[in-house]
Amino acid sequence: MEPLLRLNSFAEHLGSLIDSAADRSFADADISDECFEGLALELFRLQVAANPCYRRLIEYSQVDPILVASWREIPCVPTAAFKELDMTSLPEDSRPYVFRSSGTTQSNRGKHFHFDASLALYEKSLLAWFRHHVIRGLGNDSSLCIMTPSARSVPESSLVHMFDVVRRAGGFRSAEFYGDVSIDGGWGLPVERLVLALGEWCRAGVPVLLVGTAFNFVQLLDCLTERGERLVLPNGSRLLETGGYKGRTRELAKGDLYREICVALGVSSDQIVSEYGMSELSSQAYDHCIGTDLDASVPRRFRFTPWSRGLVVSPETGLEVGLGETGLIQVFDLANVWSVMAIQTEDLGVRHRDGIELLGRAELAEAKGCSLMPKL
């Protein structure tokens, strides 16, 4: 069978696994380690056959796909490679959609190509895990407020596409995008309109699901501070924050951001869920399920879907670090069927038994004159 056809049938099989896991609310060992292992190795070999750029990396690294015995040994592709190479198995004329990573110019933005089937799998994957962590237990009288621009205005954003999929999936009294795009392509948030809308939902006692980037939340907080206002979101309201300031003005450490959100919006920190995702992936990780207890005494830990695995590896040896140790985060995402399953992120994390604590970007060390700063 043609490599592409084999990828298509792999995707169909994975889709049904995702459906059945979601139907069971991820209650039991829905995709066992053994099952994941088998699928990962199968997909790895299919991708070596179908994805020319990846195949060349495997050949260059002198890795024999047959001898790779565990998903942990599968060679990863760094996210930066998506910027300069077409990391896809799809022929050039069969890539109608593309998600681009953030960046200032087209050339330094990563490209993750999609077509109808890959988009459908991405949507299935994101919706199942989003519902499980964010929506479960939320009544259908709530209002979805999305702080990013709409999917129509930024069609190449995988994050916005995700929010749009959630919006289209329904189950809300109302659902609206509040962000916009400036002439230079930057994302804006007309905060006044959002604050008015939130005020109305508060008066009407309608629970709100407020989603956006960390920077969106900072904009909202700054606006409320400027107006000398505080809101108390109705009972049952939920917030989803996803990393990223993209070099914008004010950055806050996550703990500080959450504390300020709690004060300004009248919510408790376990009503805020954090998402970790990127355009190069088709699955996301969340730090807890809203409605479940969150141990505030320990840093939040991210858990990937049953059809994806996060691995924290030593940057020195490439091997998985011990519990409690820091390393680079790699993600093995089975839903990345037509691109590359094994992705090396630019993020550092700490490996824990129950997930990965995110430490943020491994910033490029920059020699600053004679100003190398000591390791504090």
């Binding site: 750029c53 490439g318 680079l328 090396q344 630019e346 004159g369």
Partner: protein
């Protein structure tokens, strides 16, 4: 002598629980100025140079107790391997001799007695004048990093200028400057009394306002943002001498490569990289190599990689932070995938560690290294290709290590100078500038001075 045996003389010697206050800082500045009036301002150049020469000689003696402290604790306190500190300090102190300091004064001020009293050089005699150079009353040095040489050099220059000096070090960077200050104090307590050294996190308004108010000259090393922010906080009349972000690269011409032993050249290139773990402004990020001869640029890259292998045992890099290692791991992976997909890129790297990496690339665009022995080798047809590739760095290049044949060297240097390079030296010597070096293209002693012309 151990670290704790050093006398508590400078603010930085105080126990960690002692808190610095604005009053402590302003009192220290007043004391420094008083001590300068009493002990330094009228000191003849000759005796000052003798003392500085003596201090440098002590540092070169392996038995010197303060040097021993530096060697014993240096790695832990600065993060650099012991051989880095040893080579770096030896090279610095070998250059601080009475003779070299005399040459520096002559070079920058035109006459060796220029700071003692009004004197005439040739041109002044002919125009009926004498002139006298006066240094600042109090220099505040705001240091930015852990590499000790620029800080120690600044201290020596400040003493030559007869200025009192307050050295404000960034957190955890004062260790070696502090030892140097102690060696001055131990050799000549009155000279030591004109130095103060303290450590705090930069940007502390409470402590820095009294310091900047008291100083009539501020020197600063650090990132461009730090320097910009600092400048806005200084009183208008304060002389400000900034040393911002700089990078360096090497250039190997075809004829230069033909004239030399490529293995020795590879060793020298690695010497430049290994010193200060490639973290200084004099550390090369890229080696540009002209095409068209033997060995080819990629073959030279291979020889450099071979040399890095040898250094793994003779001069191991030592551990780096998770963040630095992660950056290297990610960059390597990117170049591996590029190498797999293009014949223009090659990569060599240490096994099972991030110890060293060499990336060969046929594309001349200048690439900033992520340091810690990560070197780019780029093939070019001619110098113009390299300069075109590095155009974003114009005004930011500190040093070019040059391997060229004699007949082409001068033209190459002229072209580099006009492009904006302020120092050119042989490959292998990039980390060892002369004490008389015009740092960032400016007179290092001369810039501190104010002139008084006396028309006869």
């Amino acid at each position: 002598m151990i670290l704790n045996d050093l006398p508590d003389y400078f603010l930085v010697d105080l126990p960690p629980e002692a808190t610095l206050t604005p009053t402590v800082v302003s009192d220290a500045c007043e004391t420094l100025k008083r001590n300068r009036r009493q002990y330094l301002v009228d000191r003849p150049t000759e005796t000052l140079l003798r003392t500085l020469g003596l201090v440098a000689e002590k540092w070169l003696d392996r038995e010197y107790p303060i040097r021993q402290i530096a060697m014993e604790h240096g790695e832990q306190m600065s993060g650099f391997p012991r051989y880095n500190i040893e080579k770096g300090l030896d090279s610095l102190f070998r250059g601080i001799t009475q003779e070299a300091l005399n040459h520096l004064i002559l070079q920058d001020l035109g006459h060796v007695r220029r700071i003692d009293h009004p004197t005439s050089g040739d041109a002044e005699t002919r125009t009926g004048r004498k002139s006298f150079a006066v240094g600042p009353e109090l220099i505040a040095h705001v240091t930015g990093g852990v590499i000790p040489n620029p800080v120690i050099t600044s201290m020596v220059l400040g003493l030559l200028a007869r200025s009192a000096q307050f050295i404000k070090c960034a957190r955890k960077t004062s260790f070696l400057p502090r030892l140097f200050a102690h060696s001055i104090y131990e050799t000549d307590p009155k000279l030591g009394a004109c130095l103060e050294i303290a450590e705090w996190v930069g940007g502390d308004d409470q402590l820095e306002t009294p310091l900047f108010r008291a100083a009539d000259c501020v020197t600063a090393m650090g990132s461009d943002q730090t320097i910009e922010a600092l400048e806005t906080r200084l009183p208008k009349q304060t002389r400000f001498i900034p040393y911002g972000h700089r990078v360096s690269f090497s250039y190997v011409t075809k004829a230069g490569l033909e004239d030399c032993n490529p293995r020795v050249l590879a060793e020298q290139i690695v010497d430049d990289v290994v010193q200060w773990n490639q973290n200084g402004c004099l550390s090369p990020h890229v080696v540009y190599v002209e095409k068209g001869t033997t060995p080819s640029p990629d073959r030279l890259a291979q020889l450099i990689a071979d040399e890095f292998v040898r250094r793994e045992t003779s001069e191991p890099r030592g551990s780096i932070s998770d963040r630095e290692a992660a950056t290297i791991a990610n960059r390597r992976r990117l170049y591996e995938i590029r190498a797999a997909n293009s014949q223009d890129t090659l990569i060599w790297k240490s096994r099972d560690s991030t110890e060293w990496t060499v990336v060969f690339d046929n594309e001349p665009r200048f690439q900033q290294s992520c340091a810690n022995r990560f070197l780019y080798v780029k093939a070019v047809d001619a110098l113009e290709d390299a300069l075109g590739g590095a155009d974003e760095m114009i005004g930011k290049v500190s040093c070019v290590g040059l391997c060229a044949s004699l007949h082409e060297a001068q033209k190459t240097v002229e072209r580099l100078a006009r492009w904006g390079v302020t120092r050119v030296c042989p490959i292998g010597k990039m980390q060892h500038p002369s004490i008389a070096w015009r740092h960032d293209g400016r007179l290092s002693l001369g810039e501190l001075m104010t002139w008084t012309d006396w028309e006869l």
